[in-house]
Amino acid sequence: MQPEPDRMADFPLEVYLMKAFAVVAAVTLLAGCGGDDASRAAQSGAPPIVPALSLTEAGGRTLDLAAERGRVVVIFFGYTNCPDVCPTTMADFVSVKQRLGARAADVRFAFVTVDPARDTPEAARRYAAGFDSTFYGLSGDSATLVAVQHTFRVAAWTERDSTGQVLVAHSASVFIVGKDGTLGNQVFFNNTRGEALYQAVLAALEA
């Protein structure tokens, strides 16, 4: 994971900090793979994780987790140039919202970019709104976004391959912040993720 010297000039320092953090986060993720953080925290006696996110969308709407107590917030960290996993997950959001019906009023859905160099606030907003006008599409400066990821115990990194193509690594999980502001179920990307996400959101609403 160490940056190659000849690429150092191409990327800002935070990218490498992000990559370094990714190793830590990946180890964390792997160590806890297969369950939800809240359950593990409860079982281990560790305090619940309370993620922090306050980002203003292009256009002025702000999503501040601290102001969302009493609502469930569903968050995905991705990037708009991702044609596969990201729109698949956003389509899951659409499906879950439809299935929730009126109960969706107590749920916020948010896309947070891990690629702020390309995803301007407007690009992120437009991307999320393309799936549903109520979905948040959030970007910001790299340092702020890295700090947000840190509170969710995740990370991302960006680099160019030998052909110049931009590679982006990000968590493919969906994170659910409960009504009490603690990090609950983490829904992993697999073939049953759509149903798993719906059930996890439902459980968070009924908690």
Binding site: P83, D84, V85, A169
Partner: protein, 148 residues
């Protein structure tokens, strides 16, 4: 890389998405259980994805040498894969299908990345892709765009 009109016509005549068997010519590659779909996408400023699965019913290995799709200026095979707990998408590298084997493309795995979209891909739209194999053979596939 653009499929010719003749090949597009052949694709249209050969069958449609999820038709159990398609064959471009008597002596060409024999692909069966072809299932092909793409995610509908209105925004042309970002790439899209198509998923083409098939079984190689022929007697020779089929190595995909390239692919072109009607709405995209450029199409590449890409693969999303987990790396250290994170998801990364990169070029798929060599993709070969042994005789009798099935190639599955699906979200979060192997897919066709559609770049430089010429226009929106609306749900319900059908468009043609052309698989090109290392032996020079080609195979037209009709792809259906879906909302989800």
């Amino acid at each position: 890389m653009k499929p010719s009109a003749a090949l597009l016509l052949a694709g249209a005549l050969a069958g449609c998405a999820e038709r159990p068997e398609q064959s471009s010519a008597a002596t060409g590659p024999r692909l069966i259980r072809v299932e092909a779909w793409a995610r509908a996408q209105a925004d042309t400023t970002r790439p899209g994805a198509a998923y083409i699965s098939f079984t190689n019913a022929g007697t020779q290995e089929l190595e995909i040498a390239g692919i072109s799709c009607e709405p995209a200026g450029m199409a590449h095979l890409h693969r999303s894969e987990q790396q250290g707990g994170l998801m990364v998408m990169r070029g798929a590298g060599r993709v070969a299908v042994a005789p009798g084997a099935r190639l599955e493309m699906e979200p979060g795995a192997l897919h066709v990345m559609l770049m430089d979209l010429a226009g929106p891909v609306a749900a319900g739209r059908r468009f043609n892709c052309l698989l090109e194999f290392s032996g020079g053979e080609t195979f037209p596939v009709e792809v259906e765009a879906r909302a989800n």
